[in-house]
Amino acid sequence: MDFLRPTTWAEALEARAAFPGAVAIAGGTDVMVGINFGRLRPASLLDLTRVAGLQEWGTEDGAVRLGAGVSYARVIGELGDRLPGLAMAARTIGSPQIRNRGTVAGNLATASPAGDAHPALLAADAEVEVASVRGTRRMPVRDFYTGVKRTALAPDELIAAVSVVPPSGPQQFSKIGTRNAMVVSVAAFGLALHPDRRAVGTGIGSAAPTPRRAPAAEEFLAGELTSAGLWESRAELPEATAARFGELVAAAAAPIDDVRGTARYRVHALSVIARRALTWAWADYRNDPAKEI
């Protein structure tokens, strides 16, 4: 097995184009599991950990641009205020060792329906920046997932970065697992309130062939908040609204029965965590009048 070690982004893209059988490796927390279980026998590995600049994040046009090589540990440690939903999701991923190595880009490229970054990225309307020797393109994260563990990445493309606009309102992330840490999610939910746009963002994990949003729930809640003047008044959220929101989120799911849980449980659990996430987010919104919209 060849081990390609580009040190610049241009070299990385050239290698990607030149070796179609190569598997990119960042933190290796998915790739090495595949190799150890004998599911993956790549002709070569394309190591991205030495690529200059890939481990950095910065702000660009008001958005945080997260380089593909930034670890979860750094998202938690350095970006908890700017990307709260993603940082909350990152906190639930694996163990400290996994968070020290694993990356959001790796989570994206694996595109497991159970990947925990996805619901947070979907709720926050993140954009994925992908590149090849042919050039760079950006797409909304919702267009990135094309099927079960399939993505919009072309064979010669790499993920360069993820861009997320820092929120104008509260965000939440909640994940069900059958153990209190280090567990693959049985269902996960990401929520972002966007008071600036009078909009709501959602993301569902582990409950459909791909990560997905709950558009009906988003529209319902945004509509309720607007029609009742709640964006401005920050008054108490009616319980029935939260409950209905939970039901609509659950209705957007299309889960299966597997070793981790039944489809029925997933639907039920989603309705509960979506409702709770909303009540927490709304409490945050109410307690934070300083933040102008």
Binding site: S174, R179, V184, V259, R276
Partner: protein
Amino acid sequence: MSAPTRVPAGAPEHLTGPGSGGVGDDAERPDGVLKVRGEFAYGSDLWMADMLWGATLRSPHPYARIRSVDTSAALATPGVRAVLTADDVPGEKVYGLELADQPVLALDVVRYQGEPVALVAADHPETARLAATRIRVDYEVWEPVTDARTALGHRTGNQVHDSAPEVTELSRENAHLHPQGNLVRHLKIRKGDPAPAADVVVVGEYEVGMQDQAFLGPESGLAVPAEDGGVELHVATQWLHVDQRQICSALGLPPGQVRLTLAGVGGAFGGREDLSMHVHACLLALRTGRPVKMSYNREESFFGHVHRHPATMRYEHGATRDGQLVYVKAEIYFDGGAYASSTPAVVGNGGTMGIGPYVVPSVHVDCYGAYTNNPPCGAMRGFGSVQTAFGYESQMDALAAELGMDPVELRCRNAMEQGSTTPTGQVVDSPAPVAELLRRLAAMPLPTRDDGGEVDLRDMPGGVSNTTHGEGVRRGVGYAVAYKNVGFSEGYDDYSTARVRLEVVGGEPTATVHTAAAEVGQGLVTVEQQIARTELGVERVVVHPKDTTVGSAGSTSASRQTYVTGGAVKAACEAVREQVLARAQRLVGRTVPDLRLAGGAVVSDSEDITVPLADLLGDDVLEETLEWRHRPTEAIDPETGQGFAHVQYAFSAHRAVVDVDTELGLVKVVEMACTQDVGKAINPQAVIGQIQGGTAQGLGLAVMEEILIKDGTVRNPSFTDYLIPTILDMPPMRIEVLEYADPHAPYGLRGVGEAPNISSGPAVLAAIRAATGLPLARVPVRPEHLTGT
């Protein structure tokens, strides 16, 4: 005696360690520093320059007939040195711990998914695995039998074994067993009134899923062909001599030509009592004339060892209105899977101790072990008692509820004590402080609730996954008590052998302890040192590598090694000490009655005598080897189950406090408290470690650990989906250790390792019931059970 041997890298060395401390001290482990530093060599670290790697081809089907096996493509793979099938097994083609019924390599029928069919040895492990996939096996796939009752015809079904397996001479307690069809063993207890009646009757049915030992060091070993035509096997195992017996039989070699050394063991919990790669590596080494290493990966490990028997149980408890038990009837089914392994003995424990540590005048138990096409089940910590404890303790809670009594009070009212008679008619002849264990637990303060301050997610069900900030959370408290036999029962000749040497090395008196007792992480090597220090009054004690150049120590299981091998080491030390003191008498020239060994010298309290061992021994080496036995037990009556079945009991009790998110069905165990009588804590710190570990393993079974099987096929053979508790699942503990000496045991000690594994899970289950009000008849409890989804 034996031919010259080559020693692989990673073979065990003599352990001394920096430690000190005798019996009753928190002595340091001699292997502790190595383990903490990551320098300890485990079986998977074994290495030799010219070694080959072995790989195993396993059946993908739980039940099938093999029409043909074609190895030609595998043999033609460059780098492959041997491909072997059942035809290449020179000796007996079947083996087993108690019954020889399991093929070394599949014969004409495979009976479980993962059954070994063929072996490959190659220059590289990748080549070996690749070649294994090139072996063509033509299977006629059969419908598997996957339910114990069905297998026994208690529901309709076909037979997995059409002929009765043969009873081997090493059978433990199955002298009265007459296996037929799918029945491995049926144990009956008939005591007291055959048709009892009672004021209050509670009936319940319970189910326990299949737990795995989940030890961290996968099955590994290295077989080295010897010049005398024999083989040296370095292997991570639990009982060198029972391995040796089975390997000799399969290889057709005498014991002198099959020499075993214990490699570093990364946990066992019963899962290494059966053979795994042992015979396979030896076959490949003898065929190729090269050392052969085999080391399973995690997935193969799930198929490479037996698991804990799943069980279904029906209990009927009758009591007076004031809470005195009148009778218990129980019907217990253990699913033994495809081969017998230690199912007969598991049935023995499940049946004889299946109603718990209570005094009951009339007992009627039928306990069955069955063959099915599920993965073979055998030894695991708690051995038959873990399953039944879920049943009988659930019943005690149900009875308490029916009577409107406090569950602890009900248990205490019926608790066994010294002088009580067990269901097998045995009189308990050493302390049995069951009620005291419970009362001490109940007297411990309960953990306080968080009083509305900032929520720490780590304290919540779901942890940092952020599923609740207190919504839906209800607290529950549950109690359970357990007892477990220590050592092998029902007439088994349960002995250990110890060789102890005393000499002066570099001016320092040094004892060397040599036993074949497997150190699997529990700290027996420390105990061996402590006993030698106490008995011989020397500081420096060397632990010789564990191997078959000394006699059998019996199994590292049944909570028995500190008792039995500890007893053997103590006895061998005493024999050496007698020699030393006799020498001292001769030197002093008269009889001094109170000569003893202390501080590396022979001393007397009555006279001013100090003879340093260095002077007394000079260059002489004093050595004693002896076998030591606990008092004998006896087989139980096959029709009534009566008899002196067990040599000793261990008792423990748990109180669990849990928070349950009742809406999401997620559980956070808030605190575990444990009381246990250990007779004498030989190493108090190690005792605490056993209680914590056993508690965690029991908690795991209650809330998450299960091998999920569908139609005989394992669905979660990895740590991705076979979940074991993390530090956020296992709470802090309160532990009280009692020391009521058992007058029959060395130092008065009781085996420690298993009891806490038995009472922990039922306490957690009881606490979840208390929190939710749900009846809950199955473990592990899943969120679906708690939410009705």
